[in-house]
Symmetry: C2
Subunit: 481 residues, 2 copies
């Protein structure tokens, strides 16, 4: 039984007091590593406080690594507490966490196999790529230069200065003349896709690429829309799949398909646009990752040549940081009219100071310089990874596909091998990787098997370790028939 | 004809070059105050550039006040350019803008009647209330202390640290124990209301208060939901209006109704909760403005006593700044289960660094200190305004109603007068004010007529001027029958 005198809590909320008492007892060693704590209910009863208060205290301690919750068994003082002696007093302190929970990226832990996880599925960005110094300098300037501008409600579509900066960038970088008036800024492509569904109205049928970015399909379905999956091949979306359908809007990534990396051919683009013109349907052109094309000329967006039925969409998630929550779309005339009549009254969805900072970051030329730096960074990283494939012998088992753009490529098996045994084998060795089939809606499987590698956040050392593991496991999996 | 040599643009985008040329010509005086500019089309043809490029350049000049767009007539060099001489060169510079466009608040301009606008409809906050120094200090600390935390993708529901800070605040300030797990953070109540509609699913019928906050009804209708308007009286929502309806969700503000300021009675609350329990409907409790109760004890939220069918919703728009775009809701168990199963996969909608700053602002006690300061600030401001009503004689024509909480009160006419003549009269004198009828969905009119005054952003001098104008106009409008 753990009883704390809640009368001594002072000005603190009770949950904070309880949290501190437990933390103190762990530090002092009176609660031992691995020791079970009372259930939330019991703790609440024993101390005459609400269960929710205990839940809040426990939750904070879990977050900070002092205790851990084990499914169906309850709460325990963390088993990975190191006892250290400081200033003559022995203290338990939580070990430095190995996993970066948010980014899904973990450092390899060569000592203990069960913690050694390298995720080739991780789409986060390496910390060193964010331009912290420039960004904070601009943010400070924005906040001191014009205080009254910083606390104004942003317009529904986003601040004019940001929309102008984006239009300027699109003109320079993508050869696409967008009217700043038609740009809508929002906190992510998922939000903007939802807004589009509202602009189109009704419970319209929508379509997505198969394989593809499955999140967007979930967003559409969750809004009550039926979602058709249109197959792709090496030339992009097989547009014949749309004829005779009732699809009113399709979400595509013509410049760089996720996850195969293919580029939609000119013929397929033309056919998609004619289908949209004939049926009055809308094309959402997700231009994600187009900034990171490493080979050949940039692929121009469909919106640049056929803006009438195309909604151009892009985000700063991959180019700057997923923590910013800024994406944008360019509405064609017809949808812009609906937007101005029906949605312009709401408040903006991205904070004013962040919009001002980003606007200045783009207009002052930092964004394009940052993109150049990043292109070099990822080009080098990819080169080193491919060299490691040769060195380790991994290239004897796999060919690389879809590596012309962005931060993913695919590994296509050269020899027949047991896919399930391979995946289980590498997972047992702390490596996680998805096969292309896992991005497919249909049951038809890709043969030979292909794996998707997100390399953006992967250090060369991590890939070297991964390549070694894959080669090891592969040797046991080859179907020597 | 205006021709600029675009070959001289250097590295600049063309629109920026054109914008700078025109600005230079205005500064130098070669384009005169009031002079008409070529149409966008003509300018594009003359210079061999795209019309959209001209549009971008003009739009920037309009924003900065150098030129103005007159409906159906075209673009003109601003007529309010002052010619000043600096360093021996005569320059046109735009006059300091009188109107703060975003906040809808204008300084009175006693010189020129047509610019003299005081908006008693303005819900923005006075600039001096935002805690700039503390906020920027914390924001800087957040950005330097833990860079890797700052660039992580925020969880769909918002960062745990912010949800915990909000839960702590709700427990201390509203006596409401909310589980941080059940809190969802989003960029505004409109966004959160939309999320709720998706959680409930289908094209459920919803209901709002009549009169009420009309934006929210527009949001519901725009998402394809039929919206019923339930009348209110001095005890709040007339719950009988709900029986027999198919309403699945109702949006109410029990602690402080907008715009009448009434508080929903205990009997009505109980009846609303039983209706929800019986029909399985949901109550969205919009607790907006509850922080600014000036009289009596705080009114506890319904969610504190009956959390099962109530979604508690609140925002930092009125307490901190509408520029922040942070609101939150607390989901009851049933909706939380749907949320965790179906929506937890999306990315968060508020930037990570802003969430970290706000979390720290609340947890470190600054938020509650700020609220105390603001309560005093608005209490004093209201007292001064009421004294001015006495002094000017305005209290001879109007009684004050609904002033117990928040930043609005109502003026109720004491004597019969011609409402239309009064409103037109004050509008001609540069005063804008809405009658309560303008917040009503039904045609039934309030008698005696009531006007809604947003006093939060109104300085004492502005109100003194407004009171004088109202008294003046009223003398001509009294129906001396």
């Amino acid at each position: 039984m753990l009883i704390y005198d809640t009368e001594k809590k002072g000005d603190k909320p009770i949950y904070e007091y309880i949290y501190e008492c437990i933390k103190r007892d762990i530090h002092s060693g009176s609660l031992k590593s691995g020791q079970k704590l009372p259930s939330r209910r019991q703790m609440a009863l024993d101390n005459g406080i609400a269960e929710i208060t205990v839940a809040n205290a426990y939750s904070q301690l879990v977050t900070e690594g002092y205790i851990e919750s084990r499914e169906k068994r309850g709460y325990f003082v963390s088993s990975d507490m190191d006892v250290i002696c400081s200033g003559g007093i022995c203290e338990n302190v939580p070990k430095k966490k190995i996993c970066n929970l948010d980014s899904d990226l973990c450092e390899p832990d060569t000592g203990s196999k069960e913690h050694s996880v390298i995720k080739l599925t991780d789409a986060s960005l390496p910390e060193e790529t964010f331009p912290f110094d420039t960004w904070s300098k601009i943010a400070r300037k924005v906040f001191t230069d014009d205080r009254s501008a910083c606390i104004r409600t942003p317009e529904a579509r986003g601040l004019l200065s940001l929309r102008q900066a984006i239009a300027g960038y699109l003109e320079r970088a993508r050869g696409f003349s967008a009217d700043p008036d038609h740009i809508v800024v929002g906190p992510g492509c998922e939000y903007l896709s939802n807004t589009l569904l509202q602009l189109i109205g009704g419970s319209a049928m929508v379509a997505v690429e198969d394989p593809g970015y499955m999140c967007i399909c979930k967003v559409y379905e969750f809004s009550g829309h039926k979602c058709l999956h249109i197959p792709i091949d090496e030339n992009g979306l097989i547009t014949e799949g749309l004829s005779g359908s009732n699809v009113r809007m399709i979400h595509v990534s013509p410049s760089h398909h996720f996850p195969t990396g293919c580029v939609m051919s000119a013929a397929r683009r033309a056919s998609l646009v004619s289908w949209a013109n004939e049926t009055g349907a809308w094309i959402v052109e997700d231009d994600y990752d187009s900034e990171f094309r490493f080979e050949g000329k940039p692929v121009p967006p469909i919106a640049a040549s056929d803006p009438e039925r195309v909604i151009y969409m892009n985000t700063f998630t991959r180019t700057l940081s997923p923590s910013l929550r800024v994406a944008y779309m360019v509405l064609p005339d017809e949808l812009f009219d609906v937007y101005s009549k029906r949605m312009d009254f709401v408040s903006g969805t991205v904070s004013t100071s962040e919009q001002l900072t980003l606007a200045s970051f783009i207009s002052d030329g930092y964004y394009e310089r940052h993109l150049n730096r990043m292109r070099n960074f990822y080009r080098k990283r990819k080169k080193a990874i491919f060299e490691e494939m040769e060195r380790s012998g991994l290239s004897g088992y796999f060919d690389v596909e879809g590596d012309g753009s962005g931060m993913t490529f695919m590994l296509r098996g050269k020899l027949p091998f047991d896919d399930r045994r391979f995946i289980n084998g590498i997972r047992e060795r702390g490596l996680s990787m998805n096969s292309l089939d896992e991005y497919c809606y249909n049951t038809q499987k890709y043969s030979p098997v292909r794996y998707v590698v997100n390399f953006g956040s992967l250090s060369e050392e991590q890939f070297a370790h991964a390549a070694e593991v894959m080669c090891d496991v592969m040797r046991n999996c080859l179907c020597l028939s």
